[in-house]
Every structure is written in structure tokens, then in C-alpha cells.
Symmetry: C2
């Protein structure tokens, strides 16, 4: 499986004119080499890939499926290895979107005979289509939401705080399989590890890091996620969590009511559900990604909630979903500016939400696999407005 | 408080020849502007600092203590602002250790009249000395260990897994104050959010991301932290957690025994304790940082455990502690290569450990405040080998 992935990278490198690639980001290395230990992975057209274990060689040897493993990975060693393969100049690919400037500049200045270019678009293009192993891991990650749902049914009641419920959910899914780490590609992403348990008035307060139901967090130090707000009877409560199962993320959200739903809560939920169903029914290989977004907007407008789809005012997001896998913020953005057709093997989190200021929000999110003639939804529980 | 911090930055900029600083990393912005929302902070010698809220202006206005706030922050807008202040060329400081290469290069290419240089050393130099507000927050963060200790006393027993105990600890400290996010400065750092609950044979298996008691994690996807190992009678169990209280981290570790300690466990614990006490007794303003490390090595050697201090073989770390505050991996490294004197107001996590292959490990860690004539230890519980 791993050499097949290396071959896919080599093919893309050939098409785009890369002579070498030097990968250092843990998720990228994990994808191509099967280990998340601190490593440098050197790939060229001419020789076998070399995996440099910067430390912990014993772990690396046990974990990787590559054969050519060395302890080290200094710039000098890697230059020597390139020379031995006959690669002495040309284009070298580095992960410009994630490597810090100092490391990038140090590397680019050392390899003076190479022109350094961003290799990440090639990697993310390959990671767009999941193989069977990856699909199974996302499915298992998404499956953890059944435990989350159980915790919510058992513990959500007037008097519990958002963060207490989030903590209980964490304890449950850690035991059941969650690696305890949600990976982002964006350099400045940070959020509480236990995801989003957001209630009442916090549902429409949209903090800066994402155009979605963000909550407000415990303090301005980490200004999104669950807070110390005490949940009340009649509250809407959104639970949106992306567990990590052996490196792969699900991303499911459901909305609950504490007690019996009122008419408006039911009406908004039904509108979100209609948007969700319209989008899911439209997914199949060959459909333009942006059509999903436009269809969501059209459906929300028909429902009378176009103004509040994915937020409102300056905090309104132009998307209806996103790719996910080793990271929760993978391409494509399912939005109006994405020129791409749906392809079999893509995994998308589709997440329509209606966020109404001074009122609240309803969110439904499911990770789905794109197939030739439709999609498979991975979430293990029905799309209902659960009255708890 | 915040303008005082800005003044401290300006002073350092003047000394080091920086005409402008453009800060984008959330922790740095939080330090100088009091908000963690996505912002750009522009500081020059000539004018008032400008805080650009890239989004969520309402949150930023409520959170920051700066006065000059604008929505936006494009490269063009900031160039215009610099021109308005009369700053049209010179040296511009960017955070080269954390900004990704693509963002850095885009910025540096836009400000062609400026020479871009790394401003992070100036920031970290300032953050080295904590002010009273910061000291109080670290103290409160460290205080959360009393809840961690209670959970361990109540739930550690044969049959529980590492990760179950870690999950219960998370649930407790989330409620009591933990922001749910542990901040690193190192670009490729990633570990399970609930820290380290490590037992038995996992105590001496040193994974690649740190020369310490790392554990092995649940899978190779996140190869350190707590695992599904079932804890047994007689096991040593190390609990090492850095909670985040309003942005500031404590970092405390204690070692427990399931049942009664045997002679060797007691002996190793007493040796680690002697190292800890020797180091703590030596801390006071004016002492060279590296002396603490050398004293730790000397004490461990006298105890007959020099070979195993901070790991063994190729996985042996040359340090006895580290700075902490807004991030858990702040300078200084308390090690042999640090040329710096201890100063009043530094906060250091001192963490001697003895890690013996095929046997286990004992770790004691406390965050301490350096004072003129000694240090204050922040951990709320005694340094004992607890028999549970």
C-alpha cells in the first residue's frame, strides 16, 4: 500500500517537473511511510525513497513499510544521498504551507543547486482520493459518534455545563479509540481537544477561527469550543466532534434539545435536514463540487433561511463542507470557488447549519464517501432532532 | 499591562535595529494584545501599535486592551499604515520560527523595501520574565494538579487502562479550569491532549518526539501518550500533565505505585528526589542555568544512576527542565548549552527522571518561579512516591 502511494507521488512529481521531494510534516510522512515519528522522507524519480529517522530508529523500523531506513537526516547527509542517486540539480519539493520559514529558508539555502517549490498541492491532490485502508479508518472514526451519542443521551440534562459534557465525551471516546489529537493543516489552528459542545446563546456567537457554530470557550485564551455555561431546559445543544482513529478523522454533528422541542426548533431543524438531504442526494462522481454549495444555498432560500445558512452577516461562510482524512481541514472546500468534479473515493464532511442571531443554531454533519452513483454516509446514528 | 509589554518589545526592537514588527502567531498576539482571535499586530517605533482583526471584530474589541483596532489586515493595508507612520523601509520583524514558509515568503516579497528578519528571539527573550499576572495564571494552572491527584487516588487500580485514567483526568480538569489545549511553539509537536499517563513497561519505551517518559500512545498514528495498556498490581504509573489555565501552562509530574512499593522503586524514587532537591535548592537569581543541569548529573552519578538520568543510550536528553508560560516549550532549555543566568521572574519546569530499560521510570516535575534568593514551587502536592 505504501509503495503504491510513493508511486502516486512520483507520477505527480514527473508531471509537474519535480526532481526530488523532501517531506518533513508528520502527517505527510505517515501517509507515505507509515510512521509518525520525527522523520525526513526523501523521494526522487531515480532511486528508492529514503526514510531518515531523526530519532527513535527502533520505533521507525517497526512502524514503517519502507525498506531504506537510516538514522539521521541532516541536510548534508541528504545532499550526499541525492548525489549518490545522480540528482544534483533541478526542482526540489518542500511543504511550503506547513514548514516554518526558518527551517524552509535554511533548507533552501543549503540546496543552492536546486530550485525549491511547494510540493504540498501534489500531496493534497493525491490524498484527495482515499484508498480502501483509509476509507475503513474514517468509517471507524465516524463510528465513534455512537459512543458520543450515548454519553449525550445519558448525561445531557439541565444543570450540566457544556464543558462537563465535553469532558465526559472525551473520556468515553479515548477509551473506545480516539487518539486524543485532532490534526489540522492550517498553521494557526488551535481549539480545545474535545471539540464542540455548544448550547443556548453560545450557538450564535461566532468566534474568529471558523465560520460555523464555534462557541466561546472557557476564556479568551482559547476563544472557541465548550464553555462553563450551564445548560438549561429548552436549550438547543450542538455536539460536533472529529475523533481521530489511527490517524484518520470522522466529523459528525448532531443537535439535541433539552426537553421537548418547540415549533421553531423543529422548523429550523427540518430546514437544515432538507438542505442536508438535497446535498447528499446530489453527490455522485462527476458532479461539480460547487454545485453542492449552490444547491444548499438554493434549498435554504426556498426554506426561507438563506440569510442564516452557514452563519450571518460578516461571519457567514461560503461553504457547505470540506474534505477530511489525516487532517480535518483537507481540500476540497465544498464552496463556490472550487473548480473540481466529485470523484469516487473522496471523503467529504457535509455540514449544513442555520445560525440565527439572538436565537440559536441547528447543525447536522456527516462524513460521506463519494461513489460512482451516489455516496455512503458514515455516521452511525440517524439525522434527527433528539429530545433528551 | 499590555502597553507595558508593547513598550518592552519596542525597546528590544530599538536595541536590535528593527523598524517594524508584524506579529501573527496567536500566542504572541495574545501576549501583546490580549486576544487570541485571528489578528495581525503591527508595532513600530514611530506610531501606536495597530491591531488588525482578520475576522470577529466584535470579539477582538471586547478582548483586547489595545486601542487602535481595525478590521482587515491585508498586506496592502498594513503597508499603507506603515507609510502613514513614516516607516517606509528598514528591518521588519516576522516570526520565522512559526510562520509557514508560504505566508512568510508572500509577506517578505510584498514588503520589498524592507529586509525581513526573525523577531521571535526578541519576543521569547521578553516572555522569559513573567509579570505578576502571568505568574498568578501559571500558579493556578499548576494548582489543577490537585484535582489530577484526586482522580489518580480515586481511580488508579489494577484493571484500569492508561487511557481510561487519562480520560477521567481530562474530564475533571476541563471542568475545573483547563482550556483543553496545550500550546507548543515547535511546529511539528503533536501529542494526545490529555498528557501522559504512562505505566509499567511503557515507562522505558522512549518515542521520538522528546527525550523523556513518552509512552507509546494508542497507535503509531500518534505514537506517544497513554495507551490501552491495562495497569497491573505493582506497576509504576507516571502522570505528567501540563494544563492550560487562561492561556498559561503548569507542568507537573508525579509517580505512583499500584499497591506497595518494592525496594528498588523506593530507591530509584529517592534518587530522583535527591536530584530534584539539589536542583531546587540551587535555584536563585544569578546562578548560571547550565549549573542546574550539571548539578543534576552530578547528583544522579553520586546516586549511581547517572547512566539513566533523562533517558539512556541514544534517547538520553541533555536537559533537566525548560521554560514555560503561554507555551510549554519556551526557553530556556535547562541544559549544558544554555548560556544564561537565572533571573527573577523566570518560570521553569524542573523535571528529573530516571529511566531504566527493561525496568521502568520515576519522574518528578514541578513548575517553579525563580526569585532573588531561591524559588517558589507551584505544585500543590508533596513530592512522594504515592502508594495507591
Amino acid at each position: 500500500m505504501v509503495y503504491k502511494r510513493i508511486d502516486g507521488l512520483k507520477k505527480r512529481m514527473e508531471e509537474k517537473g519535480f526532481d526530488a521531494a523532501l517531506l518533513m510534516q508528520p502527517r505527510d510522512v505517515y501517509y507515505y511511510a507509515g510512521t509518525s515519528q520525527p522523520c525526513n522522507l526523501l523521494v526522487t524519480q531515480k532511486g528508492e525513497p529514503v526514510l531518515y529517522a531523526r530519532r527513535a530508529l527502533d520505533f521507525v523500523k517497526e512502524e514503517t513499510t519502507l525498506e531504506n531506513i537510516k538514522l539521521g537526516g541532516s541536510l548534508g547527509e541528504m545532499k550526499k544521498a541525492l548525489q549518490d542517486m545522480g540528482v544534483t540539480k533541478g526542482v526540489m519539493g518542500l511543504e511550503e504551507d506547513v514548514l516554518p520559514a526558518r527551517l524552509y529558508n535554511k533548507t533552501a539555502e543549503y540546496y543552492t543547486d536546486f530550485q525549491c517549490k511547494n510540493i504540498s498541492p501534489l500531496i493534497m491532490d493525491q490524498r484527495l482520493i482515499k484508498d480502501l485502508e483509509e476509507i475503513e479508518l474514517v468509517r471507524r472514526s465516524a463510528g465513534l459518534f455512537s459512543y458520543i451519542h450515548d454519553i449525550v443521551l445519558n448525561y445531557l440534562r439541565p444543570g450540566i455545563t457544556e464543558v462537563e459534557l465535553a469532558g465526559l465525551i472525551w473520556a468515553s471516546i479515548r477509551e473506545k479509540g480516539h487518539e486524543g489529537f485532532t490534526a489540522h493543516r492550517r498553521w494557526d489552528a488551535f481549539l480545545p481537544g474535545d471539540g464542540m459542545v455548544i448550547s443556548g446563546d453560545n450557538l450564535w456567537k461566532i468566534s474568529g477561527y471558523a465560520m460555523t457554530v464555534t462557541g466561546v470557550g472557557k476564556s479568551k485564551a482559547v476563544p472557541w469550543g465548550s464553555s462553563d455555561r450551564v445548560i438549561q431546559k429548552g436549550d438547543l445543544v450542538m455536539v460536533d466532534i472529529a475523533p481521530n482513529y489511527q490517524g484518520y478523522h470522522g466529523d459528525t454533528a448532531r443537535t439535541y434539545v433539552v426537553g421537548q422541542a418547540d415549533d421553531r426548533q423543529r422548523e429550523v431543524f427540518n430546514s437544515v435536514l432538507k438542505v442536508m438531504e438535497a446535498v447528499l442526494n446530489h453527490i455522485r462522481e462527476g458532479v461539480p463540487v460547487k454545485e453542492l454549495y449552490h444547491l444548499a444555498v438554493k434549498t435554504a432560500e426556498e426554506e426561507g433561511y438563506g440569510e442564516y445558512l452557514q452563519g450571518y452577516g460578516s461571519q457567514k461562510g461560503e461553504y457547505i463542507g470540506h474534505g477530511l482524512g489525516l487532517e480535518v481541514d483537507e481540500p476540497p472546500v465544498v464552496g463556490p470557488y472550487t473548480d473540481m468534479l466529485l470523484q469516487e473515493g473522496m471523503i467529504l464532511a457535509i455540514e449544513p447549519k442555520i445560525i440565527i442571531p439572538q436565537w440559536g443554531a441547528v447543525d447536522i454533519e456527516d462524513p460521506v464517501l463519494v461513489t460512482q452513483d451516489g455516496c455512503q454516509v458514515f455516521s452511525p446514528i440517524p439525522k434527527k432532532l433528539f429530545e433528551v
